[in-house]
Symmetry: C2
Amino acid sequence: MAENTTDELMRATYLALCKHGYADLTMQDIADESTKSKAALHYHYDTKQELLLAFLSFLYANFEERIRTPARSDPTDRLMTFIDSALTPPQRDDQLAFQTAILEIKAQAPYDDEFSEHIARFDDLLSEQCRSVIVDGIEQGVFREVDPDAVATFFVTLFNGAHVRWVTENQADDRTRALFINYIQSQLLAEDAPAVVGE
Amino acid sequence: MAENTTDELMRATYLALCKHGYADLTMQDIADESTKSKAALHYHYDTKQELLLAFLSFLYANFEERIRTPARSDPTDRLMTFIDSALTPPQRDDQLAFQTAILEIKAQAPYDDEFSEHIARFDDLLSEQCRSVIVDGIEQGVFREVDPDAVATFFVTLFNGAHVRWVTENQADDRTRALFINYIQSQLLAEDAPAVVGE
């Protein structure tokens, strides 16, 4: 499939998910957001499931590009950049609608092995990135000698919780971020490390 | 409706949700888990939606009874009891299946005002209970002078995250609990307070 066709269908899937959510989404809804017919969609993807799996792979590739930070930069800066991208609530209605659809897909994961694998990759990548920043910070002496795996698990659990609360409670206050920075300041940074900017 | 009929239908709803999840649940599935016919169910509840709202109210009443701890007991003990009930992963398959169905219902909340209100009550109650324990702990001098609202928000976000990860990753390790206790020890307890048991 031509790259611009893929891009168009991924964009159409995004728009259709924002508008209709996941549960009621049809191939027709996705076609309606593109210049293609429903038949053309089925030519590229046999089923809605197949299209959505392709969409999750597309999201993952974007997500990966977004959260990979250069390993050379300061571990505290990297961690903060990372937290800002994981804990900044959706700013626009379409972003919130999209996060809602993603939570629906997460809730379906246990019923579907392929969804489950695709969803797990996002948390695995988050964990791995957290872990790598923490390991670097410890090596450079700016973080304390914590257990990187355990701390990464804790962080990713918190990110998941923030995601649910954006969706179910439209909760967009940034107290979670502030307390989290407080946690990092007191639990993770070495005692002689400079304070986190923006605390 | 007789109390034992309500109890039977609530139990049937629980079993049907564990078996079928939320998305595909029908009134027939619920009837199949009880001694009643589908027609009898419709006599008590016009729609599946109405039955599920009654079920959420039933769950809420049980949850409320479970998490309300006597205000007289020690704030640290109360907080730990509370965290154990919020962060202990599902032990049995039916409990995990049920938590999965609850996540599905949470993901539907943004599309339905009544679901949304019912779901928000659980987090509100959790928040209020956390807040009340923290206020008592501060008054008694065993907790530091933290912002009770902000800390309660942080806790409830973490509980939500643990819930999602149980479901999407079948993640049942207790590192989150261990780190959380570490957080409480270092951030919340007054410096001269005794260590948390079970850290």
